[in-house]
Amino acid sequence: MEHAQIEEHNLIDRYVRGTMPVELRADFEEHFLDCPECLEQLKLASALRDGLRLSAAELAASAAPRPDVSFFARLRSSFDWRWAVAIAAACLVLASMPTLVLFNRLGSVTKELSSNRTALSAAKKMIEGMEHAGAAVYILSPVRGEAAPARIAVPASSALTVLTLESDFTRYATYRATLRNDRGQIVWQQDQIHPSSPDAIGIVLAPSVLAVPGAYRLVVDGEDAQGRYALAATFSLTVSAQ
């Protein structure tokens, strides 16, 4: 396998996303097993994808269910608040240090503040990206007894749907979410989901996933140390076109 072919057909990213055809996959695996360059690119792509998805899920899950205030505005104010506290804490620490130590530490503190500022700015841009992409955000609670399913009106213009699943997610380190339509067919599945907080998981769905109106069931299974899955929570939703 040639590197030109790998680059032209995005084989690195297709492999990481799990969208590579089986016959191509075997050839590519045989190649990268003995190719340090491709292996390095695979590791980078995999880590970058994980980082982006974790960030998006965390941002989505940190939204509180208050209908009168927009999700993104609350996130912004939350980040501003954290930033102000960070500056105040840093100033307090600096003021209490002897001058000599202060000079030694000043450089590293400035660096940390600078990197926090960069991260804050990136988070804001990511949120803007979600807004720009027309993200629709919904918060779901698990099904208990005969509770009616959550109703979701998916806007026609929505580029993606963000679901924040609320339940106790402290039992397992990772979870698997499976979305089935009313015929029981799997329309979407994702493994290795890390909870964004002890009581929330954020998932991001492509526009095509909830394109068909109808009833859906989202099952979240926890993965134990032996790789076995056990039911953690079930969510029901009815999708109607807006």
Binding site: L33, D34, L52, G129, Q192, G227, R228
Partner: protein, 214 residues
């Protein structure tokens, strides 16, 4: 057979480039009973095998399949069962894949035998501190990569490709991008990620040295 054979060439930049032994040579040395060649094989293919396994196996079974793969590969090489030594990596991948399939079969049989009524969840250990640290690091770096993207369009490409799993063709069509531009965006993002990772590691090392000096 003696010590591991390390062949090298000096670049014009002064950097030493390691020229690796051919796969057929590795196989031949293992057949000759050279233990260091076995270590060399494991070191050379370790990251690749882990990457292959991680793509399909659940986190709890990765280490087991990884160990089994190298045990079986070395046994088969010693027994002279590698027909095409030049295609050693293909052989190793097929062994790993067969072990994964075998593992899935065993796991599903075991699950079927267990009492289906008993759904008491088994508790798994929390992610290790290292796992959490790596996750935090990835999140932070990913946000910095997004921030460093030169345009809103490039950010949207990353967002749609890596987070919402949209197809390349669809993204290119929606954003009016050529395939080449799309590839460049992904490549630049990975490069930026690599540089930031290196910078972060260097900073950590500097801090460690400073602490030692204090």
């Amino acid at each position: 057979m003696g010590a591991p054979l390390l062949l090298g060439g000096l670049h014009s930049t002064g950097r030493m480039e390691i020229i690796r032994a051919s796969p057929a040579d590795l196989v031949r040395r293992i057949l000759d009973g050279d233990k260091s060649a076995e270590d060399e094989l494991v070191e050379r293919y370790a990251n690749g095998v882990r990457m292959v396994i991680c793509q399909s196996a659940s986190s709890g079974s990765i280490d087991d399949i990884y160990q089994e793969t190298f045990c079986l590969v070395l046994q088969k090489i010693r027994r002279g069962e590698v027909r095409e030594p030049e295609r050693l990596s293909g052989f190793i991948v097929s062994v790993a894949r067969n072990l994964m399939i075998d593992h899935f079969r065993r796991t599903s049989r075991q699950q079927a035998r267990e009492d289906p009524v008993d759904t008491t969840p088994l508790y798994s250990p929390e992610p290790s501190q290292l796992d959490r640290l790596l996750q935090e690091q990835r999140k932070l770096l990913a946000r910095r990569v997004l921030a460093a993207m030169p345009s809103e369009r490039d950010r949207t490409v990353l967002f749609r490709f890596y987070i919402t799993d949209d197809d390349k063709e669809r993204i290119c069509e929606d954003l009016g991008l050529s395939s080449l531009h799309f590839n460049q965006v992904l490549f630049r993002a990975r490069e930026r990620f690599r540089i930031l990772l290196e910078e972060m590691n260097n900073e950590k090392n500097e801090k460690k040295s400073l602490r030692r000096m204090e």
